[in-house]
């Protein structure tokens, strides 16, 4: 076991996979000589050389297209978006080129690509350095979407994503990068976390809280607070958002009959909507109360602290919603 930060867990996973498999390469802006804006790829250029660590021009479309073309002929590219927000410049490559390639090739040409980058708010990043638009990709067939909350999952999911034969969007919440520390397995253990499996991070009986990313930490804090009030939360960390682990969700809902979904993205049209819709479809009879959602207000993420706080969900919001649900 190694005790590492969230960031270091991601770094090590990529490093070890690049050691293991010479077909893996990374590409992005400033990832080589500087080691990335957040330092996630520090040391990679020196170790793996410029053929496998590409300091790309400011060309998000080309960055992802390079991964697409290379994947078509058997390589495994990891593309860093300096901030995940900039994926808007490469949107077509993600949804229309990478996502569809296997389909268009009649199943012959898999697309192993990882698209990763820092996401999320709470750091004063303003509109274009705070985005959390996983719902766009959640809606598109052919893609997988991952967002870990703890170092061990970040480590195991990154390894699984690199070995996966499909394009995986890997959202790394920048708020967690250096704030969260935890143990990860040693390199020789060859540990991975399979994509598509949620994990219950806290067991409870009254309310099922379904969440992912930084919100897992908020939910756990809320659960701790509510424990004192005698409200017991079960916290499901989805880890993988697409494919969605409905089995784990439904099992928990059957037990609690009350559901609270928490995400950081704007509420309308977020991933929480689909989770709610599926629970209603598949477990209507088990529900004792309306499904509630705590999410960002339908707004951009503003800059000034009082504004950002107002828009993004808080531990207080989760606590309040859970109380309401418990009282229903």
């Amino acid at each position: 076991m190694r005790e590492v930060t969230f960031l270091e867990a991601i770094r090590l996973a990529m490093w070890e996979e690049m050691e293991r498999d010479p077909n893996v390469f990374i590409i992005g802006e400033d990832i080589g000589r500087m080691g990335g804006a957040f330092g996630v790829t520090e040391g990679f250029l020196a170790r793996f050389g410029p053929n496998r660590v590409i300091d790309a021009p400011i060309s998000e479309t080309a960055i992802i297209a390079v991964c697409v073309g290379a994947a078509a002929v058997g390589k495994r590219g990891i593309a860093e978006m300096q901030f995940i927000d900039f994926i808007s410049y490469a949107f077509d490559q993600v949804v229309n080129v990478a996502a569809t390639y296997l389909y268009r090739s009649g199943g012959k040409t898999p697309m192993p690509i990882v698209i990763r980058g820092p996401s999320g708010g709470y750091v004063g990043g303003s509109l274009y350095h705070s985005q959390q638009y996983e719902a766009w990709f959640f809606h598109v067939p052919g893609l997988k979407v991952v967002q870990p909350a703890f170092p061990d999952d970040a480590y195991g999911l990154m390894k699984a994503a690199i070995r996966d034969n499909n394009p995986v969007l890997f959202f790394e919440h920048k708020y967690l990068y250096r704030r969260i520390k935890g143990p990860i397995p040693d390199a020789h253990e060859d540990y991975i976390v399979r994509l598509g499996e949620a994990r219950i991070r806290r067991y409870g009986n009254d309310i099922t809280v379904i969440t992912y990313g930084a919100m897992v930490h908020f939910a756990l804090e809320a659960a701790q607070r509510l424990e004192r009030e005698g409200i017991s939360l079960e916290v499901i960390d989805l880890r993988t958002i697409k494919p969605l682990d409905m089995d784990t969700i439904l099992e928990s809902v059957r037990k609690t009959s009350r559901v609270l979904i928490v995400h950081e993205a704007p509420k309308t049209g977020g991933v929480g909507a689909e989770i709610a819709a599926r629970i209603v479809e598949q477990a209507f009879e088990w529900l004792d109360a309306p499904i509630m959602r705590v999410a960002a207000k339908d707004s951009f993420v503003p800059f000034a602290e009082p504004l950002e706080k107002f828009v993004l969900p808080s531990v207080d919001d989760i606590v309040a919603a859970a109380r309401e649900l418990a009282a229903y």
Binding site: N23, G69, G74, K75, Q93, Y103, G106, G107, K108
Partner: protein
């Protein structure tokens, strides 16, 4: 036949590589021109007769010399990425005519299993890279194919990416060519400048006098050549291949040509409204096939009989493939949901 050099329409000569072509080569080139022409005609005909009911036919009539001249000097291990108007390239690069026709008819044994249409196919084992509808994208994707070669130490494999002149206005064209130029990737961009993007004339897409001038912005050689002269295309391509294989980076070849028909089969009436009929007629006189035939006869190496006009066996071969496709089975409905994900990952051991 005259050849021209970077950015000069009537300037210096590039090497006349075509002089080393054998009689056999010239005959094969002649047949390929006809193949492209007859392929097109057969599909237009099928569409008109209602034998092909789905999809559009994007004609390459008039542009055959480009496809033939750019593919002829390629090595077997080179890559191509054809787009909508380059269907014959799939066959020139080794795909079977039957599978191409099955693609057009959306049949189960098509390369896309009926999932996508027309030119959105490929075959990685033959170095043919798939395109999407979004124009310009393949130029960027090409960089990845070539980067993979670099990782494997295969610096000599070239990728020929086709594009219309209109698509050179797209962002992905720029990001791709810029990346290739920065890294001196062996990318050859063949711009099929047929003067129009759908109805839009090239002056509204490209601000320079020639499309080849775009190359100057990337510090790479740009040729502006007669795209209706198959040997000029061949010569420019040979030059570009030498440059690219030598590790000197990308090349842009603008092949000036004309789309003799509409943008696609549905566009025949309009295409004679948004374009002057006199212009169309002028370009019909520059048809690359009779032009090449006249040239071959003028060399004295060929008799009239050696150059059948058209070669009937080709038309028959195409027709057989069409019948094959029409009679081939449709895909099973449920297969629509196959190939969305590939779950054969290279996971060695798995601990949760």
């Amino acid at each position: 036949m005259s050849t021209v050099s970077p950015l000069v329409r009537n300037g210096q000569h590039v090497t006349a590589h075509h002089e080393r072509l054998t009689k056999q080569d010239l005959l094969e080139i002649y047949r390929r021109l006809w193949f492209a022409r007859l392929f097109d005609e057969a599909l237009y005909d099928a569409k008109k007769k209602g034998r092909l009911r789905r999809g559009n036919v994007y004609s390459s009539r008039g542009q055959e010399a480009i496809m033939v001249g750019t593919t002829y000097p390629l090595r077997e291990d080179d890559f191509v990425s054809p787009i909508h108007r380059d269907m014959p390239v799939f066959v020139f690069r080794g795909m079977r005519l039957e599978e191409v026709m099955c693609q057009v008819w959306g049949k189960a044994e098509a390369p896309t299993r009926g999932k996508d249409s027309w030119s959105h196919m490929g075959d990685i084992s033959k170095g043919i890279i798939h395109s999407t509808s979004m124009l310009g994208s393949t130029i960027a994707v090409a960089c990845g194919v070539l980067w993979a070669q670099r990782m494997d130490g295969r610096h000599d494999r070239v990728l020929v990416a086709y594009t219309g002149e209109g698509a050179t206005a797209t962002g992905p064209f720029h990001e791709g060519l810029n990346f290739a130029a920065v890294h001196k990737l062996p990318l050859i961009v063949v711009v099929e400048n047929n003067q129009y993007a759908y109805s839009t004339p090239v002056e509204l897409e490209v601000p320079t006098e020639t499309v080849a001038e775009r190359a100057l912005g990337y510090g790479i050689p740009g040729y502006s050549i007669d795209g209706n002269d198959v040997l000029e295309v061949y010569d420019a391509m040979c030059d570009a291949l030498e440059h690219a294989r030598a590790g000197k980076g990308p090349v842009l070849i603008e092949c000036v040509t004309y789309r003799l028909l509409g943008h696609a089969d549905h566009d025949e009436t309009r295409a004679r409204q948004y374009r002057p009929v006199a212009e169309i007629e002028m370009w019909e006189k520059r048809d690359p096939i009779p032009r090449f035939r006249t040239y071959l006869l003028s060399t004295g190496l060929f008799t009239e009989e050696e150059l059948p006009n058209p070669p009937t066996d080709i038309a028959e071969q195409i027709q057989r493939a069409i019948e094959y496709a029409i009679n081939a089975p449709d895909p099973e409905p449920h297969t629509a949901l196959e190939d969305i994900y590939d779950e054969h990952a290279g996971v060695s051991r798995c601990v949760k």
